[in-house]
């Protein structure tokens, strides 16, 4: 899921960095005092989630948890995920520093899209209904990320469809796991701290 240094052409890297900077600026604006702790907790969970590997066939993929971050934070997912990615690059060598912008965009933009699509629905109805929408949002964010990764590779010269298929199918188990995880997290949060979602929509 993390694209490494040297895999992308320069225009893609620069474009991704500019877009990510815009997203981070927008996110920081919406990040008010009450939501900073949420952002910090989600940033830390994102940072650790990448170490949880799901074995599939000969290879393995890792959890991402960007959907949950997006659903709870909205645009503020950009700075939260950026911090997580930066530290993953520095501590674990995932991805790289030059492609940080592209990776931030690939992971945070689908998260924000999931929030725009499902954010409202999660706060409504019974907690169980909210959890179902949350699970859908979690799976949607991963699917979006695979599409973004494939698009970034395609813009750098690799064939889009083979790359997209490879990344997408490799992440189907992750989508399922993240859907369940996000669903339960939403269910729990709806019961314990319902105002989390009301705030998220108001912002």
């Amino acid at each position: 899921m993390h694209i490494v240094d040297g895999a992308l052409s320069n225009p893609v890297v620069i474009g991704g960095a500019v877009a990510a900077a815009g997203g981070i600026a927008l996110g920081l604006k919406t990040l008010d005092l009450d939501r900073i702790p949420t952002a910090g907790v989600l940033s830390a969970s994102f940072f650790v989630a990448s170490l949880i590997h799901v074995p599939i066939g000969p290879s393995s993929v890792h959890l991402i948890l960007n959907g949950l971050a997006g659903l709870l934070l909205g645009w503020a997912a950009f700075p939260a995920l950026f911090v997580g990615l930066l530290l993953q690059a520095v501590f674990f060598g995932f991805g790289g520093l030059t492609v940080l912008g592209v990776n931030t965009l690939n992971i945070a933009l689908p998260a924000v899209l999931a929030w725009l699509l499902f954010g409202r629905l999660i706060g409504r109805g019974t907690p169980v209904q909210g959890a179902v929408w949350g699970g859908l949002g979690g799976a949607f964010a991963i699917a979006g990320t695979t599409a973004m990764v494939a698009a970034a590779l395609a813009l750098s010269g690799e064939g889009f469809l083979p790359a997209a298929k490879l990344v997408f199918f490799a992440h189907i188990p992750v989508m399922a796991i993240e859907a369940v995880l996000t669903g339960f997290a939403v269910l729990l949060a709806r019961k314990v701290k319902p105002e989390l979602f009301v705030r998220g929509i108001a912002a």
Binding site: H2, I3, V4, G6, A7, L8, L31, D32, L33, I36, P37, A39, G40, V41, S43, A44, S45, F47, V48, A49, L51, I52, H53, P58, S59, S60, V61, H62, V83, G84, L87, Q88, V90, F91, F92, G93, F94, V149, A152, L153, A163, L166, V167, A170, L181, F184, A185, L188, A189, V192, K193
Partner: protein, 190 residues
């Protein structure tokens, strides 16, 4: 708090596996350059094409990895050799062997190639008691002995221990604490 605990419990359940990172290394092996290619979780890149380029980007040749992710390439010119491989899905490996090392390999080659005179290290004209063939055999044996160690070191370098995980979390807490402080100060001032 309960959500936090849930996340913490989920995060701790499976043991952190090795990172999904590309590792690549090249080292001299007699008259050839030997290299290995794979992922840091132990999967080696089997049957992958490796493109060899010179310092100016011209293609010098191609080679393929075997089932264990090993490849060999016999250099012909004493220039820096870059080995480039695409493992798919954004995983790209690139590793370069500097010109001096390549020149040393060419110097060590028994059928000393006509053109490239190695700068610095010339092949010693069998000065010692050991003949060239014996030296070659010793070098071969040492390489075979050292190879597992190289792998172990490469794997060890990729190992993520609890310290770096906790360190990263510490940075996040600190960073968001700082953000919290700045936001609070702004709120108090305004």
């Amino acid at each position: 708090m309960r959500r936090l605990l849930l996340i913490a419990a989920l995060a701790c359940a499976p043991l952190p596996a090795a990172a999904h990172k590309v590792i690549a290394g090249v080292f001299p092996s007699g008259e050839a350059i030997e290299g290995e290619l794979g992922f840091s979780n132990g999967d080696m890149a089997a049957d992958t094409e490796v493109v060899v380029t010179g310092p100016d980007g011209t293609e010098l040749g191609r080679t393929r990895t075997d089932a264990d992710g090993f490849f060999t390439y016999v250099p012909t010119a004493p220039v820096a050799h870059s080995f480039h491989a695409n493992l798919g899905a954004g995983h790209v490996a690139e590793v370069t062997m500097p010109a001096e090392d390549v020149a040393r390999i060419l110097g060590a080659a028994p059928a000393a190639a006509p053109a490239p005179a190695a700068p610095g290290e010339a092949p010693s004209p069998a000065g010692g008691a050991l003949g060239a063939a014996e030296k070659q055999a010793i070098a071969e044996a040492v390489r075979d002995e050292v190879r597992p160690l190289r792998r172990e070191i490469a794997a060890y370098r990729e190992h993520n221990d609890l310290q770096s995980i906790l360190g990263g979390i510490g940075y996040i807490v600190g960073l968001f604490g700082l953000g919290f402080y700045l936001a609070a100060r702004r709120k108090l001032a305004g």
